[in-house]
């Protein structure tokens, strides 16, 4: 059987398939459906220093081949995560990526410091959440702001650090380069695209927060393009995502330059999809006689 192992910088993944932050909780629910240890990794629901209730009002809206969400980083806070979720996650045989969000630089720093004392395999710094006012995404739009936060975070953690970029960034390649220069170990992209939906009968936005984040197959062509643009300009590895629904999409992202891929919205459509993507990649490797996925990463 084919060897799906990939090295993402210094971290080895048994396969390149990781479930995306915010779409897989802390793994417990999906673990009731299949053995999630068979995945390459899990990125946790976005964590903030303190507990958050998230946004009020409608939180989900369906669009053509996409969905918009306005969860707004509802989460139990880092401390609760460490006490209640880390023990469960550590017993799994898969890589654990702690996804960290925040509203202020200090909040990010404190959260990262705290999590860095724990046995998680990686930190994914979310500077790209479009659903929290004055937070998250603000850090991921301008290159200088992004550079600054990565620099500060890099000082306080020795864990492998990947930065999750926003497709709403002014210049995603420039931001990725800045992350690389400031010592990030990898890049993940993309988070959701900022979108709007209007209830024409009520004559007002569907979401209390007005704008919300678009994910799913609708965004795939753009996400894939951004991965490829970044791949051509940076040397640190990439986790690509955005609308991956099946193994073919996953291979496209790898050919565009992703070392690992993340599966988000697709989990909602088929809870076992990440497992099926692992199998699909294995079969593809067998059929095409691919010994190592390195052969196809960035091949286009």
């Amino acid at each position: 059987m084919s060897n799906t192992k990939v090295n993402f910088g210094s971290v080895e993944f048994k396969n390149p398939v990781i479930t995306a932050s915010g779409t897989f909780g802390f793994g417990r629910e999906y673990n009731e459906i299949f053995d999630i240890s068979s995945l390459g990794g899990i990125s946790t629901k976005g964590l903030t220093l303190n507990k958050r209730k998230g946004n009020k009002g409608m939180r989900v809206w369906e669009t053509p081949s996409g969905m918009m969400n306005s969860v707004g980083l509802e989460n139990p806070g880092v401390e609760d995560f460490i006490n209640k979720e880390v023990p469960f996650l550590q017993d799994l045989n898969t890589n654990i990526i702690a996804n960290i969000g925040g509203s202020t630089l200090d909040e990010y720093i404190e959260a990262v410091e705290r999590i860095s004392k724990e046995k998680v395999d990686m930190i994914e710094l979310n500077i790209s959440c479009p659903n929290v006012k004055e937070g998250g995404m603000a850090f991921g739009i301008k290159t200088d702001t992004a550079r600054n936060i990565v620099r500060e975070i890099r000082k306080v953690t020795n864990l492998p650090l990947i930065i999750k970029l926003s497709p709403n960034a002014e210049d995603i390649v420039a931001i990725a380069k800045a992350c690389e220069e400031e010592g990030a170990d990898g890049i993940s992209l993309v988070n959701t695209f900022k979108g709007l939906a209007i209830d024409i009968d009520k004559r007002r936005p569907v979401f209390d927060n007005v704008y919300a984040g678009l994910s799913g197959p609708a965004i795939k062509p753009m996400a894939l393009r951004m991965v490829n643009e970044v791949y051509k300009q940076v040397s640190i590895p990439i986790m690509g995502m955005g609308g991956i629904m099946n193994w073919k999409d996953a291979i496209e992202f790898m050919m565009a330059g992703s070392t690992c891929i993340q599966v988000g919205t697709a989990n909602f459509i088929n809870p076992k999809v990440s497992l099926e993507i692992v199998k699909g990649i294995e079969n593809f490797m067998d059929r095409e006689n691919i010994k190592s996925l390195e052969e196809i990463i960035g091949i286009i």
């Binding site: 897989f24 009020k56 939180r59």
Partner: protein, 232 residues
């Protein structure tokens, strides 16, 4: 994937779909259903209407793209179900009333079937907007059944007669029932509706604030004690 046994039109916009297979499920639980491959993107939550040997059924109202596509499916077509999800109604005891409004009657048939042998009294209240449906099917399990068409079914309800009220339907109806409560002996359980994505508690799009903090309607609900909920 499962096969459709039949997909019967009950009225202008209501359908009863029966699917082949031995599906598990408790009263008040739901399945995430898709009768299509890729489009629309999300699956649709539907409450278990009935489970028999070798089949499960749902009733649904045609509202948008998803239920419209469901309504076009025919015998032997394939359909995908994920579930059962949610907590479901509690094992009520003593004198019990089931109160359904509109599509809220859907989960009450299976609930009635499960409860009618063990409780002392099982009364069923059903409110419809235009036309009463499936009434005979429900009556077989009921000690008394009450029906209203076009008016508030809650007008007929005296909650003090019951130990348990299990209710499902539009939020204003639920709210009226919860507000009827004066003493503490009647336990009112309500089934809530929220737009969903995962259906299993992972994505938090169905979260809402309850008196006990944030709660996921798909996983911690859809059934709650009436007083736990902040109504709109």
């Amino acid at each position: 994937m499962a096969k459709i046994i039949c997909n019967e039109k009950l009225s202008e916009d209501m359908f009863l779909i029966t699917i082949e297979g031995d599906f598990p499920g408790e009263m008040g639980q739901f399945y995430m259903i898709r009768g299509w491959e890729d489009y629309p993107l999300l699956s649709r939550p539907l409450s278990i209407h009935e489970i028999n040997d070798g089949s499960i059924s749902f009733i649904y109202k045609v509202l948008g793209e998803g239920t419209l596509r469901l309504s076009k499916l025919q015998k032997d077509d394939n359909i995908t179900l994920h579930g059962p999800y949610g907590n479901g109604f509690p094992k009520a005891e003593g004198r019990v009333a089931l109160v359904g409004g509109g599509m809220g009657i859907a989960p009450l048939l299976y609930t009635a079937k499960k409860l009618h042998k063990t409780v002392d009294i099982l009364d069923i209240y059903m409110g419809f907007r235009d036309e009463a449906l499936l009434v005979d099917k429900y009556k077989q399990y009921a000690d008394e059944s009450y029906i209203s068409i076009g008016s508030n079914i809650t007008d007929q309800l005296d909650i003090s007669k019951y130990d348990y009220i299990l209710t499902c339907g539009p939020e204003p109806m639920i709210k009226r029932i919860v507000e009827m409560k004066e003493d503490n002996h009647t336990k009112i359980y309500v089934s809530m509706e929220k737009h969903m994505a995962c259906g299993i508690g992972a994505c938090l799009v169905c979260s809402c604030e309850s008196k006990n903090g944030m709660t996921r309607v798909c996983k911690d609900g859809p059934v709650y004690l009436g007083e736990e909920i902040f109504y709109e």
